[in-house]
């Protein structure tokens, strides 16, 4: 046991005694030991954004000596105003699992062997050089994460895109946010929501589109319930494929058949037009119509390519298109009663009601993810309910920095911190800030995530550095990609904190400093950037991911581009990075400002945050009267003609059930952190399959029975849950994906949205058998 840990335990022992004495003898004082004054309990509170979902709750982490010992909600943070969820309150326990990686590991004769970290970093650099020499620069790749701190993603992009010159930079946010991005880009020309969480306090109606907020964004959901309680007329409509805690709390729960949200969204627009609820003035001034390709495929084959063709349309054409989507016709494919469609249309259409739509993975993990994002924007644009307090189409994120690091830094194959690689001006700006020759930056995007793992399987990619993510649990159609990664001649580097199934395929494991063990920034769903300082030392040799990248970059000869010193590199990187966004549409707060405040929303112009973009009343970049959708050259938002098309795979005689997958309250993503938090594991120790009571009855299974779930790709045996946390309708089963001992992604399908390349984890066909 080391000295600091021992000292810590003794402090805790003394503190317990002081606390006990204070209860028995009110007013007791121990003058001898000043820092054990009972009011502060010897704890120093420091602010950090929560490590888990994209809500971005402000936490105050209690630090005593060199240990994080307690958490409370940050009352100064407008996101959560002092409240957290069960994960947030226990988040610091993720630092202290006994199986934390403390030393670098290198695979030798099949076994992972402890190695000094500098030696491991030498090996990583050497392998990269060798791979580039033998197979070209496009044979090396990095696969990062929406949990990357902003400097991590920035350093990765600079090294791979700017220095090495390959666009093989992807992040797991491709699996969670890509359709949201393409939705924003096609409808508005700029990424990320126009509104903010304050919309929750202003709206009269909430529609959750396939979004179980009660479990996935609980703090925002509570804010919604509090709004409803104070205002009494507020309504929550849960529009989903399965009945959940959110449906339980909603005023109305409407269930639709998977994939048919496309048809229902169009039917809502049909009703809005038929009833003359269109905000004609808004549409006239601020909207133009577009159509794209149809019958666009599902990407299940290797080398699948798709480029949409944007064509101008008009309102008349749009109206004609909607004739196929009367509520009565749509009822037949969606299972949603026509009267419920009309009810939703009436809520959106009522000029006296402010409406906020929320969505997350239900709409993004969708083979027509871009389309359904477009279609929900269509509804808001038709009635002009956008960019004003309470009127908000709001795309939520699932990771703490999917926005901050992946979308804003642009750690995706086609992106740069500002603009896309295909754009010459964007390449020039990046080359100038990065101090690299502009020719270094390849104008052609390479592989999106699914294709990157296919390329690894095929051998087009030979070296992959994986940071802060666990693809051997999260990739759909997992068996293929695991086999691919294990092939001869593949070299996998993993920056991790705990052993996971991805460790099992890694050749080098670099121990990472986690969250408050290093300084960093996250960016949440509402354009808020949040800073945290380093509060406690990382264990053993564990090293910040940014610094790992810097160490390797220098070994590759890029000292000039990575000149920073350990004492100040996070601040220096921030100052370099924000040059990319130095314009009124995206200006970010200074390092000093971020250090002082519980998050700052961009665009941050002249010391003012922007709460509602595109609205000149709130947004300094917006000009003129009413609204200014300045993301598009004509300053107009787009209404897209997008049809309903069926899912890539749907139930048939052989596989008669839909499989839906997702998260639960207690566990975050693959559970590599939350399963090591005692209370979260004790509450939810293993995954299960939720079955509708009718289907369970027909199969002869009861709650707790063992059941085999199989698809054309694989199977998993797990426990049946009937009337448990959620209730799928007849014909559907639901499985949480957090459990590495029950890999449901061996069952899922790797079909994706052809525009966003984001896989659909919510729909494939399975059958159940008793096991």
């Amino acid at each position: 046991m080391d000295i600091t840990r021992r000292a810590f335990i003794k402090t805790a022992a003394a503190q317990s005694a002081v606390a006990a004495a204070a209860v028995l003898f009110p007013g007791i004082s121990f003058g001898a030991w000043k820092n054990l004054d009972t009011s502060s309990g010897g704890i120093e509170w420091k602010k950090a954004p929560c490590r888990f979902c994209g809500t971005g709750c402000g936490l105050l982490v209690g630090v005593s000596l060199d240990r994080a010992v307690a958490v409370k909600g940050d009352p100064n943070c407008s996101v959560n105003k002092g409240l957290c969820c069960v994960k947030g309150y226990h988040s610091i326990q993720i630092l202290y699992g006994n199986d934390r990686y403390r030393k670098a590991l290198v695979r030798k004769n099949g076994e992972l062997v402890e190695t000094p970290i500098q030696e491991a970093l030498d090996l990583v650099a050497e392998k990269m050089k060798e791979t580039i020499k033998d197979h070209g620069k496009d044979a090396v790749s990095i696969y990062g994460s929406g949990q990357w701190s902003i400097p991590d993603g920035y350093a990765a992009s600079k090294l791979f895109k700017g220095c090495i010159g390959t666009n093989n930079v992807e992040a797991n946010a491709r699996l969670c946010m890509a359709s949201a991005v393409t939705g924003f880009m096609t409808s508005f020309g700029l990424d990320e929501p126009m509104g903010c969480y304050d919309d929750i306090d202003h709206a009269d109606v909430f529609v959750t589109w396939g979004n179980n907020m009660a479990e996935m964004h609980p703090v925002l959901f509570s804010r919604m319930l509090a709004n409803r309680k104070t205002k009494t007329h507020v309504k929550i409509i849960d529009f989903a494929t399965r009945t959940t805690r959110t449906s339980q709390a909603a005023d109305k729960s409407i269930i639709f058949s998977p994939q048919t949200d496309l048809a229902v969204a169009n039917a809502i627009c049909h009703e809005i037009i038929r009833n003359k609820w269109v905000n004609e003035d808004f549409v006239e001034k601020h909207v133009s119509f577009r159509k794209g390709k149809t019958n666009i495929g599902y990407g299940t084959e290797d080398h699948f390519k798709f480029t949409d063709k944007e064509e101008t349309a008009d309102f008349r054409e749009y109206k004609a298109f909607l004739q196929d989507y009367t509520p009565e016709k749509v009822e037949k494919i969606s299972g949603v009663p026509a009267k419920d469609i009309k009810y939703m249309a009436a809520l959106y259409g009522d000029p006296d009601k402010k409406v906020t739509s929320f969505w997350c993975m239900g709409m993004n993990q969708h083979t027509r993810g871009t389309w359904i994002n477009n279609l929900v924007y269509n509804i808001h644009l038709l009635v002009g309910k956008i960019s004003t307090p309470g009127n908000s189409p709001f795309s939520l994120t699932g990771q703490p920095s999917a926005c901050g690091t992946v979308r804003e830094v642009g750690t995706l194959t086609h992106k740069l911190p500002h603009g896309v690689v295909a754009n010459e001006t964007a390449r020039k700006l990046a080359a100038e800030i990065w101090q690299v020759p502009v020719e270094n930056i390849d104008p052609k995007p390479s592989y999106h995530t699914v294709e990157m793992f296919r390329a690894l399987d095929r051998g087009d990619i030979r070296f992959m550095w994986i940071q802060v993510t666990n693809p051997m649990v999260t990739m759909p159609n997992l068996k293929r990609y695991r086999k691919g990664a294990q092939k001869q001649g593949r070299f996998i580097v993993l920056s991790e904190i705990y052993p996971t199934p991805t460790s099992d395929i890694a050749d080098v494991i670099l121990p990472s400093a986690l969250w408050v063990e290093r300084e960093g920034f996250f960016g949440n769903s509402e354009r808020r950037t949040q800073h945290n300082e380093q509060m406690v030392p990382p264990p053993g040799d564990a090293m910040c991911n940014t610094w790992q990248l810097i160490e390797v970059a220098r070994r590759l000869g890029y000292e000039k581009q990575f000149p920073w010193i350990r004492e100040a590199y996070i601040e220096d990187i921030w100052n370099e990075y924000i040059q990319f966004h130095d314009n009124p549409k995206h200006r970010m707060a200074s390092y000093k400002e971020l250090k002082a405040r519980s998050g700052v929303q961009w665009p941050f112009v002249d010391g003012m945050e922007t709460k509602w973009r595109f609205n000149p009343e709130y947004d300094p970049a917006a000009k003129g009267d009413g609204f200014d959708f300045y993301g598009k050259p004509d300053h107009k938002a787009r209404i897209w003609i997008r049809p309903y098309e069926p899912a890539a795979e749907f139930p048939d005689n052989e596989y008669p059930l839909w499989l839906n997958t997702g998260r639960i309250l207690e566990h975050w993503h693959t559970g590599s952190m939350t399963r090591r938090v005692p209370i979260l594991h004790k509450s939810a120790p293993a995954s299960y399959v939720e079955i509708n009571p009718d289907d369970a009855g027909a199969l002869g299974v009861t709650n707790g029975s063992r059941v085999k779930v199989s698809s054309r790709r694989g199977s998993v045996v797990m426990t049946a849950s009937i009337n448990g946390r959620g209730l799928p309708p007849k014909g559907m089963v639901f499985v949480p994906f957090f459990d590495e001992n029950h890999l449901i992604n061996e069952v899922t399908l790797d079909a994706f949205c052809p525009i966003s390349k984001q896989p659909d984890y919510k729909k494939c066909a399975v059958r159940l058998e008793r096991a």
Partner: protein, 76 residues
């Protein structure tokens, strides 16, 4: 390496004496309350055997009336 903390109650009027007795023992740290007749004792012994010996020794102290444990930590 066991660590324990206690509230130590002195026999009537022997707070100072108890503080001196406890401070004189190995592996012990004591703190007096300024305004109440109670002390805090933190013990930090290298192993189980020493811990047991220490506990025996504590029982022999004349100035000590009773001990109430408030915290315990052992490595295994």
């Amino acid at each position: 390496m066991p660590v324990f903390s206690y509230l130590a109650y002195p026999v009537q009027g022997a707070k100072e004496e108890l503080f001196n007795d406890l401070s004189a023992l190995d592996y012990c740290e004591a703190m007096q309350a300024e305004n109440k007749e109670v002390l805090i004792l933190v013990t930090d012994t290298p192993d189980e055997k020493t811990e047991k010996a220490l506990q025996k020794q504590l029982k022999t102290l004349k100035s000590l009336q009773s001990l109430g444990m408030t915290f315990g930590h052992t490595d295994q």
